[in-house]
Symmetry: C2
């Protein structure tokens, strides 16, 4: 009887500030409840109580207004693991980890700003590259002879005959949805129609009358951000961009956490797949509506993404990616009907998925390749695509290597005490005066720098900020070559908390958090691990190619254009190179998706280069550990940096 | 307020004997209510109050047991049109036409046996033809090298390499659902899998381990009956047959009525499409379950049907078929994914739809062509596919003509006073003794003939019975050459009802209806119109081909094998021919679907013959009316029938 009553009345859970509410079965965690109700809560570790990012607060007052009585006892008891992330004071205030606290009764949950997967400031603007136009889908307007009793030929044969006569198109096929609209379009257009034809082979759509323009969407599905570029396939112009958070982030911040989620949850893949498809449909709706179009006017999409994103989006089980030998289900590019994927564009729309190289070096890196074309260069180039999963390409027209390393979320602001994504309130630039040790910083959303302009809204530090911060700490002599904090610096900004040193970037009154934003020893170590992996990977690639010096370095990535190249080299993210030949190119993966959308020859090029590029599995290289250890130093244990300005008085 | 109450409580309608019930908005007809609730009621005219087939009875007792109070006043008033079909006595008993009576309150409706679209006795058994086997889909078992860190190639590339090495298959594509199952199948099969590949080009499925057999389904979608043949694509054997009524029959019995329904109802096409797809899914479920298989084991389907069935099944607007110049949307054969049609077979299953010739000469006639191969014959053959829509082919290897005529439902037992489909209780054979004028008949479901064996269960007359009946009435001298009843026959079987002559086939005590089953003047006229159209068409085709005499006549059709060829020639369904060279071949359209399923070369043959055959639009022929008038006579006004036995003493 007791169980039956329970089954009949489930706990009410309300999330604030979103106000979302619903009945949740007892025993589900607050994080699961949030997912169920569509409330975004950060979860870097994927619900393993090991990252501490999913902090929420349970409210203890009776919420008469909301019709429930919330109490901390309506959650399961505080765990030892939570104690690692939540101090006594916060605990007394009702702070919990959403992944640890299970629901036992009605609760009102407050999700603080830091824990929300808010809308990121996305800087994936389409670059200004000029692309040559050779789309897969073209429009063919044609007027047909009217059928008569003496000439009662079928609509399709009539259309095909006219297309053959006027444009010389032969052996045309027609996709089923186009067949359904054919008869209506012919009669509505009074026997003048415009056929949208793919690769001169397949009729995808038949529009009544003369239609002048047709559209496509290039999409870069990043682990964190999904960016879409709406393009005219007729003019080649990018007419709109839109980006959204990848909603899969609530299942784990990086690809390993998401694959683990699939391993642990029987329905995990379907959940994540549903989430990203819904996200893409939202993106399609928004970007078309913003430009007076409808989703049905999109006739082609191109997709890039790392291997895990690729698999999860297509609905391919990604578990083999998570265990040795890390084989993907498919390398080659794919053409799949949007309707088969559940994408709501024109019902006959084609989705071209770029090929995968190897392991985690995915279609996004292929996008980078066709955008930057290292295979056409004589100079030896290193391309680093900085993202949650770092991917590198090195070489030139003679030989190209690729590699992947879990450079990880630290360079995107995660795994950092005050790390956050590039959202309003994030400190994106840091400068430390080597003499006074005072700090200048700039916050996203503010025009001017502290201290020139007093800042009060800082909430955390994003990727470019943390790169700047650690590089500047080193340049100012606050941390050593090894990354260890010096304790003799004459500034109140360097202080000990729980016996551990940290450096104050923003004072409490300069933040929106009512406490100081700092960089601590652990943060510096995280950045060292991330940059060390990239540097070591680059060194092994140079060895494999037998080259001693890089001619050019290209920093790509969702926020690549915002990394300060000098600070990155001070930090030692990559081996020495003439700084005039180091460039940030922004979202090269997204550029590649756009290029493939607008030029079908580049798809063949992508297929070729994806097959020819040699994959270097860094974990198999004997010297990796040794190179990695040396590269943990700032900028490096022993390598020289002749191109760095001699700024380092104290080091 | 009144309206609101009405809106809140809709009338309850209960149908007996099925017991189906539901709430129906006021103003809907009983026929619409029946469709909504899935109750099959005959409707030849498509709800136009002009065929009288949809007779139902409203019950007037309070049905306390069923919770409603039914009363004849809960239907709209009796109409003048209903008076044409329902006599005073029946009217007093509550008999109505379902298409005329609108619902105004709770009603209990009884659907009499004659009005039910019951399960037909289907004689579409697969014929015993030996077919040469060359299926589009074949199985390729293969064992792959296990991936290692040194060989981390993707699953798809690994499979394709092994298929290329072992079987020489090149440039393979993979359908999306197969890609989804690939990784799991490889690991479950411990790197041994069986790939099902279509046309040596497209991987449709990947099964774990070695799989020996794969299946296909050939379907003949008739206006009245849907017949399916489950075949092994590996052995070529037909392992099961199943047939169902075409549920579209509730929207109109023939193609014209159904096209009219689409014209009159905005959602008509979707309704009919949904009905036939659901029917096909039921057929797939049943025929696979009966043989221990699952729908997912069906990898290919072939479909034939007349042009209207073809369009309605595919979801193509059929309205252009209903108006001059009667153009179909497409002639050529189509390959469409079962999933795009909503058919529940293997998710990658292909549906091959045979081509259409012209107008109403559809894919079913193409099926007849590839089954009977007139294009390989020297003799001049006439093939009549007798169905609701009659299709004819004439010629030989030198030249072939096709034509279509609305020979109509009369030869299937519709538009006949006591007509019914070939269901249990139908009189299928009639003989009249020319001397005594006594009648022998045989009922479907009974082994022996009356009068040899007393029969009491006759319910009506089906197509083969009505052909026999009219031919025998003529042979016995009861009707004249013109079809008119002689009134001087010395038999009580010939009587006047309302001043009109009719001939008693079965006395009341021999029927399940408690009244006599008769053939009246109107019935004879209907048969004359139907057979006259076929004969006139054949004559015009002979003229067009310049031939004076037919070498061979083939009678095909769902019940073709049950037409008595001698009676058909006595009636004058086709011009004179040596009876030894007249044959009934059964469901040749279904045979064609099976042949196309099992032999892909025959698909090319179908495409070729469908393009080469010349379509003769009979309505455009100046002489049609004249030929038709002459052909209304039994067997003909003037043509000689040297091959008919000299039986006609009285004529």
């Amino acid at each position: 009887m007791r169980n039956r009553e329970r089954a009949m009345k489930m706990p009410q859970v309300i999330f604030q500030p979103s106000g979302r509410r619903g009945e949740i079965p007892e025993g589900k965690t607050v994080l699961e409840a949030a997912r169920f109700l569509g409330v975004g809560i950060e979860s870097v570790c994927g619900g393993k109580q090991s990252c501490g990012k999913c902090r929420i607060r349970v409210e203890s007052e009776p919420s008469a207004r909301l019709g429930i009585t919330s109490h901390p006892d309506h959650l399961s008891p505080f765990t030892e693991e939570e104690g690692e992330f939540i101090g006594e004071k916060e605990r007394a205030e009702g702070v919990r980890l959403a992944c640890a606290a299970a629901i036992r009764g009605d609760v009102l949950i407050y999700v603080p700003e830091e824990s929300r997967t808010g809308k990121q400031v996305v800087r994936k603007e389409a670059s200004e590259k000029t692309l040559s136009l050779k789309p897969a889908i073209r429009l063919f307007p044609v007027t047909l002879p009217t059928p008569t009793l003496k000439d009662p030929q079928g609509d399709y044969e009539r259309l095909v005959a006219a297309l053959s006569e006027r444009f010389g198109l032969q052996r045309l096929e027609i996709d089923y949805p186009a067949l359904l609209e054919l008869s209506g379009a012919l009669r509505q257009g009074n026997w003048t129609v415009t056929a949208a034809i793919r690769m001169e082979q397949e009729i995808l759509a038949v529009f009544a009358g003369e239609v002048k323009e047709v559209y496509g969407l290039a999409v870069d599905v990043g682990s964190t951000t999904v960016a879409g570029y709406l393009c005219s396939l007729t003019t080649g112009k990018t007419i709109g961009t839109e980006s959204l958070m990848n909603p899969q982030i609530t299942y784990g911040e990086d690809v390993v956490a998401r694959i683990t989620y699939v391993m642990d949850h029987p329905d995990g893949m379907n959940q994540m797949r549903g989430a990203i498809i819904e996200c893409l449909n939202g993106l399609i709706r928004t970007v078309t509506a913003d430009h007076g179009l409808s989703p049905a006017e999109i006739l082609e999409l191109t997709l890039v993404g790392n291997t895990a994103m690729h698999h999860l989006l297509l609905g391919i089980d990604p578990r083999a990616l998570g265990v040795s030998p890390f084989t993907p289900a498919v390398h080659r590019s794919l053409d799949i009907k949007a309707r088969d994927l559940g994408l709501k564009a024109h019902p006959a729309a084609n989705v071209h998925v770029l090929p995968i190289e190897a392991g985690f070096v995915g279609a996004d890196n292929v996008g980078v390749l066709i955008a930057e074309e290292p295979y056409r260069r004589d100079e030896r180039v290193l391309i680093i695509d900085v993202g949650t999963n770092g991917e590198m390409v090195m070489g030139n027209r003679e030989r190209l290597l690729s590699a992947s390393c879990a450079s990880g979320p630290a360079l995107e602001g995660a795994h950092i005490r005050f790390g956050m994504r590039a959202a309003p309130g994030a400190i994106e630039r840091i400068r430390i005066d080597p003499d006074t040790l005072d700090v200048g910083f700039k916050v996203i959303g503010e025009e001017r720098w502290r201290p020139e302009f007093p800042v009060t809204g800082a909430k955390g530090i994003c990727g470019s900020g943390i790169i700047d911060g650690v590089a500047e700490l080193y340049r100012a002599g606050i941390i050593e070559h090894s990354g260890r904090f010096r304790t003799d610096s004459a500034t109140a900004r360097l202080r000990l908390t729980d016996g551990k040193p940290e450096f104050v970037i923003a004072w409490p009154e300069e933040t929106a958090l009512d406490r100081a934003i700092t960089i601590n020893q652990q943060d510096v170590r995280s950045v060292q691990l991330a940059k060390g992996a990239l540097y070591a990977g680059a060194k092994l690639m140079m060895k494999r190619l037998g080259i001693a010096k890089l001619d050019r370095v290209i920093l790509a990535g969702a926020f690549g254009s915002y990394i300060d190249k000098t600070e990155a080299m001070i930090l030692g993210m990559f081996p020495d190179c003439d700084l005039d030949h180091v460039a940030s190119v922004g979202n090269a993966a997204g550029d590649g998706a756009r290029i493939a959308l607008l030029n079908r020859d580049k798809r063949l090029e992508a297929e070729t280069v994806a097959r020819q590029i040699e994959y270097l599995e860094l974990t198999l290289e004997e010297e990796f550990q040794q190179e990695f250890m040396a590269a943990l130093f700032i900028p490096h244990m022993s390598d020289a940096f002749p191109h760095l300005p001699p700024l380092r008085d104290k080091n």
